[in-house]
Amino acid sequence: MSPSPPSYSDAPDASAQKQVDGSKPDLHLWKLPRGRHGLPPELIAQSQRERLLAAVVRVSAAQGYQATSVADILKEAGVGRESFYKHFKDKEDCFVAANDTLVADLEARVAVAYEEPGSWPERVRRGLATTLEWFGSNPEIARVMMIEMGTVGPIASERFRTTFRRFTALLDDGKEFIDAAPDLPNLSKIAGGAVFARVYEEVALGNCANLPQLLPQLTFELLLPYIGEAAAKKELRKATKAEG
């Protein structure tokens, strides 16, 4: 018998409406009381699923996805093997589901920052700041989303690529706001690629904590292909002020 679907869904969009409070996302590892507790089965199922997702993130960040076994995840989550297979087909399924909820969470936070009124470069800077702070204060999550996702296999790699495209697609409306944005077929990828490359590198080298202080430089690099040197430098100075 399969449990009723918990609020987390496999569709990355589903939890985008989740409340965004700007605080650190929690890796839920609290355990339910042992023995008879009379909790409804849906709640138990949801709790198990959330703990498994948090556990796969923690364990993969610490020892690498390839070296992680289902047994490691069960131990970290305090969930039995039978329950694991009620929720997930295998280790990969669990890992990709965890990544999806993380992507949805980050996407929702970035959307809030980006949609607040302001000039387009300002909105871009706010979205970028949110991303850098999120990765900066969550090294385990950064490791999983940026590095480990690439080591899983074809399904995860395709998902990884889709995620990159979803984030760069946010920049696509820049053309509406920027006079004479150049006609590069891959403009948003060229802009976002600088951020992606730098974040990837810092995370790979274990320097997540450095990310927030890269905001001025990366604001410049992100906006450069859209607005050119002089205007991008102005935004760099604003970002330095906003940070200081």
Binding site: G150, G153, S157, R161, L184, G192, G193, A194, F220, E221
Partner: protein
């Protein structure tokens, strides 16, 4: 006197036309090709020495004569392809009239080679960062040093504000996006945008756009 494999001289008794180490060389080539194919199919992590040995039709003992272990073999494969790309690029820019022209030609030549050898391209650009990010940092420094040298030679130092390391990163992201999407054959279509990127840190956004004819 050494001879290239496949040279068409008359077989001689006193001077061999076939290099004496041809067997060893072809073993090595076969091992590298097997590593590239296996990584493309099932990733480096899932590749075993057994996979490589089987694909290369060699013995396990032969493998260990050439390489210490799987990682050693991977590094050799990545390095060999990098050397190949360097050769392709430097050949393309020998007759270039200016640094801009050199970048234009070298970019076209490299893209063509990447498109022709997608398994190797995948190994160098998609797998290598997963295996060890230090590999990518090493070849990034080679590419950036080559670009810097090109502009020093033209008596024009770096003068725009964009970071050449991030330019490399942007180009890599763009190429990987195509490779991962199974669009290796379409890599040459990125030519203008990659020329823009290579010029961006040196002549700035406006001139780079113009030079790349965008």
């Amino acid at each position: 006197m050494r001879h290239e494999i496949g040279s068409l001289e008359e077989p001689g008794v006193l001077t061999p036309t076939v290099p004496l180490d041809i067997g060893v060389r072809s073993h090595r080539q076969r091992i590298l090709a097997a590593m590239a194919r296996s990584c493309a199919e099932k990733s480096f992590a899932a590749t075993t020495i057994g996979d490589i040995v089987k694909r290369a039709s060699i013995s396990r003992g032969t493998f260990y004569k050439h390489f210490k272990n799987k990682r050693d073999c991977f590094d050799a494969t990545a390095d060999a392809f990098l050397v190949e790309l360097e050769a392709v690029a430097s050949e393309a820019l020998t007759d270039a009239a200016s640094p801009t022209d050199a970048i234009d030609r070298a970019t076209a030549a490299v893209l063509e080679r990447l498109a022709a050898k997608p398994a190797y391209a995948d190994l160098l650009l998609v797998e290598a960062p997963n295996v060890d990010p230090a590999i990518v940092l090493r070849y990034r420094s080679i590419v950036v040093a080559a670009l810097d040298a090109l502009w020093r030679k033209g008596k024009e130092g770096k003068r725009a504000a964009a970071d050449p390391e991030l330019t490399f990163g942007r180009a890599k992201v763009l190429i990987v996006d195509h490779l991962a999407g199974g669009e290796a054959a379409r890599l040459p279509s990125l030519h203008s945008e990659l020329v823009y990127l290579a010029l961006l840190p040196y002549i700035g956004h406006d001139k780079a756009l113009k030079q790349a004819r965008l």
